[in-house]
Amino acid sequence: MKQLVAIFLVLIMAVACNEKKTPGPGIVLFLDNVFILNQGNFTYANSSLSTYDPLTKTVEQSVFYRANGVPLGDVAQSMTINGDTAYVVVNNSGFIYAINRKTFQFISKITGFESPRNMLFVNKHKAYVSDLYGKYITVIYPLTNEVIKHIPLGRSSESMVMAEGKVFVANWSNYNQTAENNMIMVIDPETDQLIDSIQVGKEPNSMVVDSDGYLWVLCSGGYLNEEVATLWKVDPVSLTRVEKFEFEQITDNPTSLCLDQKNNLYFLNHGVFRMDISLSELPKTAFIPEGDRNFYALFIYPENQIYVSDAGNYLSNGWVYVYNSSGDETDHFEVGIIPGYFVLNR
């Protein structure tokens, strides 16, 4: 059981914005670099990878290009660390680069996708890749970079988390599907079978698992504000809804659900909002106001520092702002175009 818990913790850490709260016994937290993945512009292949060292407050830009002499690709969507390898999912290029997480040097390329979005290691030897166009999960064997099989979902897939030994997959986009995009699909990673699903709000965009093991799902309500945004608390064992929070305005478009170690949820909704999971209502005012910035992605560093990216006008380089747990800014720095994903380089 301990082993399971440890694996579970590591896996959760590997997914940005899915910070595990309390470190288990024997796990020592230490400061590491933060990777900032810059999407770049769709079809412009100007993605880039930046790193930030919180101790020295130094930023390195375009580390992939500097190490390899080629561009990172078209829309670098997400990044997953497994051992010494960092996997960069390059969405519109349709591949995943495996790079050395310390030297950033190219190791290998995984191909065979339509529109890959996120990668989740379900165990040492198996990873799932979600897909915006493909109505299936692609199962990868990372040692050989082979696509082993597909798990049919009948829907597109986006963010993924593991809880209670199951993989929860959000059906975020309704692109090319007739079904409502308001489901969390449940997969058994042992058998690679779709075993169940839970209905949530429209456009579930991000998920976290809290220290009590509950799954939290943030739904934006739709690109065109088709319904009011919602936050769901789900029991991953019984697959039932525990709680549902509705946002006030139809124009609310919350994204980037994160969790810190003190059981606070964070999300973006034109500002960084913070909510204690024990509270029974959504926060009314922003913990960190957006001002004239364009907040785009959120990340909670293990010791409760808050990282929020500013995509600006989507054309020029974006910025990252760092705050301590009291909400005081401790640093800000420039990164690449549309900083859209953070991950701890550990």
Partner: protein
């Protein structure tokens, strides 16, 4: 011709239009040279910059597309996504939607995108290409904030009863280009038919250094097939009256290659288009009056397909357009011309990308007065008005002057100032989900001044030099900017200022049996977004130029085309780095050929080598371009 009648007609036509309108008259097929009315221009002194493609140049590009011709011979910037793929054109640092293409006076620009894909305009269908820069475009159309490219198909000329011409090209990458032209004449009726078929696998090998591991690969999914015909009938009703019908029909089927970083993505994109454009016209010219009335019907059917494992998207777009236009040119006195015109236009678009059928109706009117004083000074005043989308656009005025300071020297100083407006395109207004019906029309204020110099040198040589400076300020410029997720969103940006210099040099020499023709073009362009720290707009090179040299020694000929495209930014980002700055490049193409005369048969063979120095370049970021390649053309004329 009764002059009175024509005056009355003109007055009636003007009266058809609200007083505050001025009219859009289109001279187009009313080629002044054919007229008996010829204004006393100060001997070709023009108030604006124009450029015409000469006949040798037209022959050189007879099997290619308009984009390739413009890239080689003009100072326009051609943004080509690859051979046979999308190619758009910008004048003077403006956008591709600011370049209008008119065929026989009717706009080819898509009402959806606002632009023309120049790769889909085969030169085989045209006899003349004339460029009107900046404000000069107002003479033919409104809304061409950069300028206009005017195409004509004046195939029926001369007294010959019958000609047949076959041109066959075979080239690299399994490329076959065929064109057949047949001209028949019986009494007063002439017929001209041109049929083309162009196919290519277009699977050139290139080194993909935009991905790891870097490797040589074949360009994939880039083949194309174009089939089309142009039919023109014309009846000489009287000596000065002609009725004509012409129809240009084209079917194209092409694969859309992925960018170099995306070749492993499991998807295929392709496009099939069908366009049919038909014009019925009548023209008449008298001693002091020329008149023409014409109507056109354009039908365009565009299908874009995206095929992946999970989906098969067929994005359908159907466009129907009807146009009617009439214009009159009257010589009011010696060197005093007046032109008036009206045009009605209806376009309807049925697109899966819009919610419901979208239509646009336009009423256009214009009037031009030109007067020459002392055979030295020519002034032109033009007013144009447009009513569309249920409102009037502000009046579009143009004023130009041309002055010849020395009686015996062919030196002309020219100047013009104009104001132009352009409505948003239907995509900008309605494209789901990013279209914005609140977008404002783009407004341009343009100034231009220049000097032209022509001189005959010794031994059959002549030289002409033109230098033009311009300044244009476009407010509420519509730019598609990246938004959240993958959508690009159209937005008005406050102000773009374009300014620059254009220089041209032509040198002709006929010495003994040698014929030399050279033409050089250079453009210096600054086009800056005033709201973005005056950063140069993407895909507008500061420096650009080309040269075309043709040397003939009967029966042999050599043509050399060199072009330079300077460094370009690919985004509006103020910080330039590897990913958003494309290096400049030189391209050289050389043609060698000879002509034969075998009895009544005119024969020509030529070999063209493209990108002679095998330059590895990108015209658009991460779009693969071919290295050196060649084709062989045989032309037979009977």
């Amino acid at each position: 011709m009764n002059l009175k009648f024509n005056y009355i007609l003109m007055v009636v036509m003007l009266a058809l239009v609200p007083v505050q309108l001025s009219c859009q008259a289109i001279f187009d097929t009313l080629n002044l040279k054919e007229f008996e009315v010829i204004a006393d221009h100060p001997e070709s002194g023009n108030q604006s910059r124009t450029q015409s493609i000469d006949s040798i140049q037209m022959r050189e590009f007879s099997q290619q597309d308009l984009g390739e011709l413009l890239a080689a011979l003009t100072p326009l910037y051609i943004k080509s996504y690859g051979r046979g793929t999308l190619s758009t054109v910008s004048f003077r640092g403006s956008g591709s939607t600011h370049t209008q293409v008119l065929w026989e006076g009717f706009q080819l620009n898509s009402p959806m995108l606002g632009q023309v894909d120049f790769s889909q305009v085969p030169m085989a269908f045209f006899t003349d290409v004339d460029l009107l820069f900046g404000g000069a475009s107002l003479e033919k159309s409104g809304g061409a904030l950069g300028g206009s490219v005017n195409l004509s198909s004046n195939f029926i000329t001369g007294e010959i009863d019958k000609t047949i011409q076959l041109e066959q090209t075979v080239g690299s990458f399994n490329t076959y280009l065929t064109s057949l032209g047949i001209h028949l004449k019986r009494g007063k009726v002439s017929s001209f038919t041109k049929i083309i078929r162009q196919t290519s696998d277009n699977d050139f090998v290139y080194f993909n250094n935009s991905m790891l591991p870097s490797e040589s690969m074949k360009q994939q999914n880039a083949g194309f097939e174009n089939v089309g015909f142009l039919q023109k009938f014309s009846i000489q009703l009287k000596d000065n009256q002609q009725l004509y019908l012409m129809s240009w029909n084209q079917w194209s089927d092409r694969d859309l290659p992925p960018i170099m970083t995306n070749v492993f993505k499991l998807q295929e994109e392709y496009q099939t288009d069908m366009t049919s454009r038909t014009i019925l016209g009548w023209k008449k010219s008298g001693k002091r009056v020329a008149l023409q009335v014409k109507g056109a019907y354009f039908f365009e059917n565009y299908h874009y397909y995206l095929k992946t494992i999970s989906q098969d998207i067929d994005s359908k777009n159907l466009i129907n357009s009807g146009f009617v236009k009439a214009d009159v040119i009257v010589e009011l006195g010696k060197g005093f011309l007046m032109t008036t015109g009206v045009e009605l236009e209806h376009q309807s678009v049925n697109s899966l990308n819009y919610s419901g059928l979208k239509t646009r109706n336009r009423v256009l009117a214009m009037a031009v007065v030109e007067k020459t004083f002392f055979n030295r000074l020519a002034l032109k005043l033009l007013l144009r008005e447009e009513y569309s989308d249920d409102s009037f656009l502000p009046l579009l005025p143009y004023f130009g002057a041309s002055y010849k300071p020395f009686e015996k020297e062919e030196i002309f100083i020219r100047f013009n100032v104009s104001q132009n407006y352009k409505r948003p395109t239907l995509n900008e207004l309605y494209f789901y989900p990013v279209g914005n019906i609140n977008l404002l029309p783009e407004k341009a204020f343009e100034l231009e001044a220049g000097i032209d110099f022509k001189h005959d040198l010794w031994a059959g040589q002549s030289i002409s030099i033109g230098i033009t400076g311009y300044h244009s300020s476009i407010s509420d410029w519509i730019l598609w900017l990246p938004g959240d997720f993958e959508y690009w969103v159209p937005a008005n940006i406050p102000e773009v200022v374009s300014q620059g210099l254009e220089a041209s040099l032509n040198w002709q020499a006929n010495v003994h049996n040698w014929k030399l023709g050279t033409s050089f073009q250079y453009a210096f362009t600054q086009s800056t977004d005033q709201s973005q720290n005056e950063v140069q707009l993407p895909y507008i090179p500061v420096h650009q130029g080309n040269g075309f040299i043709s040397l003939g020694y009967q029966p042999y000929f050599v043509r050399w085309n060199v072009s330079y495209t300077g460094e370009r930014a690919t985004t509006l980002d103020t910080q330039k780095n590897f990913s958003n700055l494309l290096p400049g490049y030189w391209l050289n193409h050389i043609t060698v050929g000879r002509t034969f005369q075998i009895r009544k048969l005119d024969l020509e063979t030529r070999i063209k080598m493209y990108n002679v120095f095998d330059v590895d370049y990108q015209a658009v970021v991460y779009r693969a371009m071919p290295g050196r390649y060649a084709d062989l053309t045989v032309k037979i004329k009977l």
